[in-house]
């Protein structure tokens, strides 16, 4: 068993015959909060399992707090996390893209056509933008109207566009219908962009066009906007004609059923789906997301494959880094149980989402979730949001909690 660990990639890449008597093999696709947390949880809980993490990027770029990068409050380097900590745990980092899954043979096919055998596969690919969902909004349009919904170059592009904008400009944010990654994210982003504009371009305005009639922590956000940025942020919900039905990237125009808005800076957050490998592996359904068993996180469509994080249909659980990390730990326990011939325990899962309205103004929402009728359901009375009326000191404390949470979760996921 120790040999398999020390031999690293070679052992993980070897054929099934060689390893027939060896450690159970778990392959993880995706080195984000879900995949990285899961790989480490597996090794921590059962060092006898051989774990390989397939992730083509040399480092991960974290989305939480990336809205602060857009607002110029944070350096992009603070969002980068490497995989050295993971390798130090005895996990094999396979720096390649997974291009296919052969579920019958229980093999993952890599970009160079090498094959990686597994006893259990965990897919944690996060999201992909649906570039076919909003007329006019495709990958090339996103170079003019960034989505910035995967942290990285898009985040910096939106930052540069805001820096280049003249005072008095209109920033339009288009928010999608549910479900999507990070439900409070568009509204935190509007807040932090307002924070930047108030200091540097105070005559500017932000318009949020929304395909929904309500959003996460809405009353807290609206109260915060009135207090911090009066008159700067306008939110137009679905029933007031807020759903964007098409865009023209060349003129930065966003169309709704009832009008057009020409933006100086347009941040189009399009509808999303599970990362591409989910569909290639056959674990995504017609919604674009992956149905799972809420106890084991095993796919309802393909046996021996588990799906966690944003890609999974989490029932009442929102798509967040906190959720991905919580699901990773529960899924790791379930995978170990199944590999060792035990029944997995029913998990209790927690999610908390912190949002910043200003550097010293944080709010949060928390929930507890458990399997019920085949989905993850919220446990009544167990969660809650920040108080609507609270002194500045409470908001400042919550901002600090958010930062502390980020330190904790990134340390747990990446070492």
């Amino acid at each position: 068993m120790l040999g398999a660990v020390a031999a690293g990639a070679c052992a993980a890449l070897a054929g099934p015959a060689v390893l027939a008597q060896a450690a159970p093999r778990v392959v993880v696709i995706g080195g984000g909060f879900g995949g990285a947390s899961l790989a480490r949880a597996l090794r921590r809980e059962d060092p006898g399992i051989s774990v390989a993490l397939i992730e083509p990027n040399a480092h991960y770029t974290a989305c939480p707090l990336s809205n602060a990068v857009i607002a110029g409050l944070r350096d992009m380097k603070a969002q980068h996390f490497g995989y050295a900590g993971i390798e130090a745990d005895g996990i094999t980092h396979v720096p390649q893209r997974a291009v296919r899954v052969e579920p019958e043979q229980r093999r993952v096919v890599l970009a160079d056509e090498a094959r990686l055998s597994y006893d259990r596969l965990v897919i944690a690919p996060g999201i992909d933008m649906r570039f076919d969902a909003l007329p006019g909004y495709d990958a090339s349009a996103s170079q003019l109207m960034p989505h910035a919904w995967k942290a990285g170059e898009q985040t910096l592009l939106l930052r540069r566009q805001l820096e280049a904008m003249e005072d008095g400009g209109l920033v339009v944010i288009s928010a999608p219908a549910n479900p999507f990654r990070c439900p409070p994210g568009p509204y935190e982003r509007a807040s932090l962009i307002a924070h930047y504009l108030k200091a540097h371009k105070p005559r500017s305005k932000i318009l949020i066009l929304d395909a929904k009639d309500g959003f996460s922590k809405q009353r807290l956000f609206e109260a915060g906007w009135a207090a911090l940025y009066p008159g700067m942020i306008e939110w137009v919900g679905l029933s007031f004609g807020g759903a964007v039905t098409g865009v023209d990237a060349g003129t930065r125009t966003l169309r709704t059923d009832f009008g057009e808005h020409r933006a100086m800076v347009a941040n189009v957050i399009p509808p999303q789906r599970a990362g591409a490998i989910a569909a290639l592996a056959g674990v995504a359904d017609r919604t674009g997301w992956c149905p799972i068993d809420p106890v084991s996180f095993e796919s309802r469509l393909v046996p021996n494959i588990h799906v966690i994080g944003d890609a999974a249909i989490g029932g009442a659980m929102p798509k967040s880094a906190f959720t991905a990390n919580a699901q990773a730990k529960a899924c790791a326990s379930a995978v170990i149980a199944l590999l060792r011939g035990r029944d997995p325990d029913e998990p209790k899962l927690i999610n908390t989402c912190y949002s910043l309205l200003a550097p010293d103004y944080g709010i949060s929402i928390a929930g507890v979730y458990t399997p019920q009728n085949g989905l993850l359901a919220e446990v009544g009375g167990a969660g809650g949001t920040s108080p609507l009326d609270a002194p500045a000191s409470v908001r400042a404390e919550e901002a600090a909690y958010g930062e502390a949470w980020f330190q904790t979760i990134t340390t747990e996921a990446f070492g």
Binding site: D213, L238, S239, F240, G241, D257, F258
Partner: protein
Amino acid sequence: MTRALVSVPPAAKRGEIVDVRAMIAHPMETGYRMGPNGAEIPRDIITRFVCTYDGAEVFSAEFFPAVSANPFVSFNLIATESGTLAFEWTDDKGQIETASAEIVVS
């Protein structure tokens, strides 16, 4: 607050088929639901929608409890003359909400 939104192209060529859209913010409460205290939530729906073009009715619809909140109606008509498109929504109590838009036909 009730609010109606309409979309009519401001200008069209005579004989052109134009796209008309109308939406009203309304809960369309079915009358079949109970509130948190167990009491029935009274029915409150829009029952009729009418669009007139220079006074002549060009489109109408009856709404029932199964129609969603914020009913959205989209239809086409032929632009014949410059004039006013008037929209009217009537609810259970007979209250009327209106909106209008001008179209210039050349």
